[in-house]
């Protein structure tokens, strides 16, 4: 990912936006990661006949071009579906700024280069206001600062998440470098501590 994410931020102040809303189930019947942009927020973006809902912020100017969201509390709650994060990324969303995120969504975001800066609710309300004015946001993952016309808002992000985003590493390949430690742990287990599922 880019160290600094710059662009239009869209206000999405609803609390508890769940992954069913982010990626409705009819888009989950797939075996690939691709083709999910059309599914992202589908029920909020489109009517049943697929015409655009003008009441949704991402269908309005200037937020059609948004690559940043400012969101309500507990964003990403519910189902573990990583499709929600894949879809957001494929739609062009690079950062989501909020007060709190559900745990699985948070981890999924980190694995896919989606930055989730965490701020207090006072600061979030300020950013919501600025996003409603169509301001350009600049999110520095390196410095943990959102800059809007020179106004700086510091955000929280744990070190491991920051490192993961900046490095963009593949966690599976990275953890395989620890094979010796995994071998040692596994060898320390008794036979009865090793699951063997009956086929």
């Amino acid at each position: 990912m880019r160290k600094t994410i710059k662009g239009i931020a869209a206000p999405l102040p609803l609390a508890n936006v769940d992954t069913d809303v982010i990626m409705p189930k009819r888009f989950l019947r797939t075996i690939t990661r691709e083709g999910l942009a059309a599914g992202t927020f589908a029920d909020l973006r489109f009517y049943n006949d697929n015409s655009l809902r003008q009441d949704f912020v991402l269908n309005q100017e200037p937020w059609k071009a948004a690559n940043i969201l400012v969101v309500g509390d507990n964003f990403g709650c519910g189902s573990s579906r990583e499709h929600a994060v894949w879809g957001l990324r494929q739609m062009g969303i690079e950062a989501i700024i909020g007060t709190s995120f559900a745990g699985i969504f948070f981890d999924n975001a980190r694995k896919n280069g989606l930055a989730l800066p965490i701020i207090t609710s006072e600061k979030r309300d300020l950013l919501l206001k600025l996003s409603r004015n169509g301001k350009i946001f600049s999110v520095s993952v390196e410095n943990k600062i959102v800059d809007i016309d020179g106004q700086e808002v510091h955000f929280m992000m744990d070190d491991a998440t920051q490192t993961a985003l900046l490095e963009g590493r593949d966690d599976t390949l990275d953890s395989l470098k620890k094979s010796e430690a995994i071998d040692a742990f596994e060898n320390s287990l008794s036979l009865k501590e090793k699951v063997s599922v009956i086929k």
């Binding site: 019947r29 699985i104 070190d159 395989l176």
Partner: protein, 459 residues
């Protein structure tokens, strides 16, 4: 030094610390379904990796399959089901597919097979993996990238959560079930109130629950944001471990799987068991609930403009007005099923309400037993006859079905469902569908009355 049960479980599974503050933890057992695993297998393929311990994984078909009798799955479901089967065959992983007598909803199947045991760490690409906390095991949901990580390394990157203890002391009153207990906890703590926490449930109301009730409680702990839910292993747990296919094959005896006396939690919450009433959700978040004797809340009770806006949106979506008595709400559909409430104990509770009664005219009522084994057991106990005589559809196949409507059980726009499931999100059971969460006995009562109704008037 005293430790909480959660800390003991994390310590027992820690492989090593990583330089950035995370750790690697060992996954004893990993469960997969057909919709959150395909991209994990293709990830292995792309990277040329193999499955480290094939015998430590189980794959189950449950999310997309039809539960009514069908000749063959539709093309998209077939794609997912066949994909899982061929991935399992290729990597030598146990696969319980359609037609297998062990098939069913993953979180129903695993305890039924004796695959959950105190002291284990269990991961699955499904948020309701918190269910296994009922056994004193650390269970939690993961994303697909993490499924790939577990397959290749048998570990996960992990950071220690904060700890919260929720104590529910005092007997609950008749008619109040485990579902009402956890719905009360979600109402009190809020939908995101336990984000970043592992929650341990304690107190006499929890200790008095059998395993099925404990599983219901831990299952829905994810609805308050808990990354793990735990109940200390005790005699009830031990008694539940025998008599299953995998019983006696695994034991994690190196610790006592309970919190040491005096161990401190980051947060402690107490709820009086006697104050809990049968609950119903009125809104679109699991924390938006009131007692069945109550009314739909009015905007006056919400101070902040944001909360007010949220309430108004929920009321519009649900087609309800503030102040309306809950028991005046008529329903279209009754659904009993899901990993929260489709165990034999749940079916018995619902059947007790339905015995000798008929569902109201025009109501569609469906019961989907959680697994093939649960269905067989229920049929041997005569429960099928009770459900069918009352007018319920008794589904011949097991799966998640209308809980998340990934199969053909999709509620229509505006259809109002009394549901024994876990999520009342907008669109969860179908676009525009209106979900009211409640206990399975309350769903049965609602089906009979044709409206939301107090189950205590039925016994």
């Amino acid at each position: 030094m005293t430790r909480t049960l959660y800390d003991k479980l994390v310590d027992a599974h820690k492989v090593c610390d990583l330089s950035d503050g995370d750790m690697l933890i060992y996954v004893d057992f990993h469960i997969m379904n057909e919709y959150t695993s395909p991209q994990a297998f293709s990830g292995l393929e792309t990277k040329g990796l193999k499955v480290r311990r094939p015998e430590a994984h189980l794959a189950v078909v449950d999310h997309v399959n039809a539960t009514r009798s069908v000749e063959a799955p539709d093309a998209q479901s077939k794609l997912l089901i066949d994909n899982l089967e061929s991935n399992c065959r290729k990597h030598n992983i146990a696969f319980y597919g359609l037609g297998d007598p062990r098939q069913g909803i993953e979180h129903i199947v695993v305890p039924e097979q004796g695959l959950a045991s105190p002291g284990m760490l269990i991961a699955c690409g499904d948020s309701h993996t918190t269910t296994y906390g009922a056994f004193g095991a650390l269970g939690f949901g993961i994303g697909t990238s993490e499924v790939e990580h577990v397959l290749a390394t048998q570990t996960l990157r992990y950071r220690r959560m904060k700890t919260m203890r929720v104590t529910i002391d005092g007997d609950v009153t008749p008619g109040v079930t485990a579902k009402d207990i956890i719905m009360k906890v979600v109402q009190v703590i809020g939908a995101g109130g336990a984000n970043g926490f592992a929650v341990e449930f304690a107190g006499s109301a929890i200790r008095n629950l059998e395993m099925a009730g404990r599983m219901t409680v831990c299952n829905m702990a994810v609805e308050l944001g808990a990354r793990a839910a735990l109940i200390a292993a005790d005699k009830v747990t031990q008694n539940a471990l025998s008599g299953h296919a995998h019983s006696g094959l695994f034991e994690y005896l190196s610790e006592t799987w309970e919190t040491d006396p005096g161990a401190a939690f980051d947060q402690d919450i107490t709820i009086a068991g006697g104050d809990i009433e049968p609950l119903i959700t009125w809104g679109t978040s699991p924390d938006q609930s009131v007692p069945i004797t109550g009314t739909v809340p009015s905007t006056k009770s919400f101070v902040s403009p944001k909360a007010k806006a949220g309430l108004e949106r929920a009321l519009t979506y649900m087609g309800l007005s503030a102040g309306q008595p809950i028991q005046s709400i008529t329903i279209d559909t009754a659904f009993i099923g899901s990993c929260t409430n489709s165990r034999i104990e749940d079916l018995r509770q619902a059947a007790d309400v339905l015995r000798g009664r008929k569902i109201a005219t025009g109501i569609k009522a469906i019961v989907v037993p959680g697994s093939a084994m649960t269905r067989m057991k229920a049929e041997s106990e005569g429960l099928r006859e009770i459900f069918e005589a009352a007018g319920f559809q008794w589904r011949p196949e097991a799966g998640c079905s209308m809980c998340l409507a990934m199969n053909d059980d999709v509620a229509l726009d505006g259809e109002r469902v009394a549901s024994s499931t876990n999520r009342n999100f907008e669109g969860r059971q179908g676009r525009g569908a209106r979900t009211h969460l409640m206990s399975p006995a309350m769903v049965a009562a609602a089906a009979v009355a044709g409206r939301l109704v107090d189950v205590r008037d039925f016994v």
